[in-house]
Point group: C2
Chain length 204, copies 2
């Protein structure tokens, strides 16, 4: 199985720009990506980075560069690969090998891991005709696309896989539950949990 981790090189995590500088956004995105790669390797996967441009920062995985948007880039991988394909987003800062193990444990034709806000944070496609459409509420589209191909569709109910880090409030989840480089980076950068209206927020 190919395991692909898409990564936007030019403008990672722009919605974090209210709390992080551009340089910090890049550093933090790299730390999250490193956590995802590490967790995949812990369960003996060999992840490849699918990057929008050559990586300027240090990396330690095979890199394929495709400057097209996410949909055509991922769909090209799906169309040209004669084996199952897993796609795992690079911003899953809470990911653990246990959570990913559940993604790979199912042998369904299509395994979907929904993200908060309607995204699709990871999937495994064993059906050769499965294609992605990441716009809007992509989990709804991916459910529909998969179910048009096969009845053998499974969803993984995981908070860790559901939590992609896009917005400042997401950083609080990393401080609460993170176990890798991303939480270390946030703590080194001076972020702390604070309490806001009964939910955990963020201060620096």
């Amino acid at each position: 199985m190919r395991t692909v981790v898409p990564f936007a090189v030019s403008k990672p995590k722009t919605r974090l720009s209210s709390v992080l500088t551009d340089v910090e956004c890049r550093e933090f995105a790299r730390a999250m990506r490193s956590d995802v790669l590490s967790a995949l390797r812990e369960i003996d996967r060999d992840p490849e980075i699918l990057a929008t441009a050559e990586l300027a920062d240090p990396f330690d995985a095979t890199v394929t560069v495709d400057d097209r948007p996410l949909d055509p880039a991922v769909n090209d991988v799906l169309a040209t690969t004669n084996e199952p394909v897993a796609v795992v987003m690079a911003d899953l800062a809470l990911v653990t090998s246990d959570a990913l193990e559940r993604l790979f444990a199912s042998d369904a034709d299509v395994v979907l891991a929904p993200g908060r806000g309607g995204g699709t944070n990871a999937f495994v496609a064993r059906h050769p005709e499965f294609r992605v459409d990441y716009h809007d509420a992509s989990i709804r589209d991916h459910r529909r696309i998969a179910k048009n191909l096969t009845d053998d569709v499974v969803e993984i109910d995981s908070f860790r896989l559901a939590t992609d880090v896009d917005e400042p409030t997401d950083l609080a989840e990393v401080l609460l539950h993170g176990e890798g480089e991303a939480v270390d980076w946030l703590e080194d950068a001076g972020f702390e949990r604070s309490l806001e209206d009964g939910r955990v927020g963020l201060s620096r």
Copy 2:
């Protein structure tokens, strides 16, 4: 095992008041509670409601009234019950019997299901001295309390158990993933998903 579902009668879901009237808040809270009770019964649990006052609305479960705040009310249950106790929040509108099955499948001394924003949305306590402290980032406190008692502590990684419904943005998750009365109620009330900055939002 006793399975307890706490329920605040007087002011349920006040943080939804920007999008729901008081009457609607009560109706929607009742629909969510009904979904939680149904999912528990599907896996042969016999849930009791732990209510802050007599229920004015229809209900179909044993009700214990305790007008104290959540911590002393739940801790009284824990202190006076000579068997394992499960506590499942009433506002888990995405809950399914599969998700709850995972909570009960572990035989650990303490099983915790974290909620978004640092909460603790469900737990099973088999250790007689486990007590709750729901203030602030309760999952941190509950981890600490449990680990001071036993090494046998497990966390359930479930998006469905992690998603309690407190805020308007949470309603979008119900529209995306709900399977019971709560999503029916929202749809009947005219709520629809809309797209906001790449994540799914809400319109009415």
